[in-house]
Symmetry: C2
Subunit: 155 residues, 2 copies
DNA sequence: GCCGATTGTGATACCGTGTATCACTAGTGG
DNA sequence: CCACTAGTGATACACGGTATCACAATCGGC
């Protein structure tokens, strides 16, 4: 009766690996996170877990994000969305219109970023690359839309 | 007596170009922004302009950012810093330790991002690329430092 | 130059995201 | 099973930013 290790057991491992205790609230948060497909706000997680305090939800999200279990994408207005990092290192396609967040991977991009890191003075800790888009669904629904958000998007 | 066009005149042009009025408060904000070298918070601008209301400072910053006159960099914790976009399109080197923001340009990176944009489904509006670093000064001052911020930096 | 339509301003109140505090609770190692 | 420590949840607070709204400044037409 353990062909696939239960999610709770995996979460316990992750938490132990962080030197943190595996507690009920943390398991609840992690379980909910892992069950979700897209990216979501900390607040929405809190709303779905009435038994868990707001502070604990935020603390747990931070813990998991620092551990790399969650990743964070920023909407054009800067508000963060979290998603379970099922896959490995990736960047994001963020729809300015419907705010959905998709994963995006490019080996070539990673290679170049890595090369550039060598040219940058100081020590590079990491990078953040996000594409702001109109997703195909929104284009279909609304036709080409103007971007009316912070524009230092650049080109 | 107009060998170099005054900053106010240039700002007026920019504002007109946006279909906005050139007003005293906006000129004050723009003038202060243009005089600064690094990146700064909206709040700090407000503090330096006691005569101008907080809402007006934020509105003006938004206006100029949307116009591409200002650009926005995000510290590892997500808090925004604004800088006057003297140069052309660039990305940022953000020191996790002292929070200074430096411009960074790479033609090769732009080329690749542009290529990738063609492969991305939907319409790409723009991108955000930031490198999180320990700047040379901080490395000298403190020695290699651990990053203890949100870690979806990736690699 | 003045005048009215319109845009912008500033005070205030509010929202969203997140952290500090602190009395209390629940894991954990012996 | 106990004691020690880490975690929890309520509350209060901080910060960045927006909505509202009465009032002021701007600007185009005359």
């Amino acid at each position: 009766m353990m062909a696939t290790k239960s999610l709770d057991a995996r979460v316990d491992e992750i938490l132990k690996g962080l030197g943190s205790r595996a507690t009920g609230p943390r398991r609840k948060v992690a379980r909910l996170l892992a069950s979700k497909r897209g990216a979501f706000s900390a607040e929405s997680i809190h709303e779905e877990l009435p038994g868990v305090g707001r502070a604990t939800v935020y603390r747990t999200i931070r813990l998991l994000a620092e551990a790399g279990v969650l990743c964070r994408a920023l909407l054009p207005d800067g508000s963060p969305r979290y998603s379970f990092d099922h896959s490995w290192h990736h960047h994001h396609l963020i729809c300015s219109s419907c705010e959905t967040v998709e994963a995006f991977r490019s080996a070539e991009l990673e290679r170049l970023l890595c090369e550039l890191s060598d040219e940058i003075p100081g020590r590079v800790l990491g990078h953040q690359v996000d594409f702001y888009v109109n997703c195909p669904d929104c284009l279909k629904r609304e036709g080409p839309v103007e971007a009316h958000t912070i524009a230092n998007y650049g080109g």
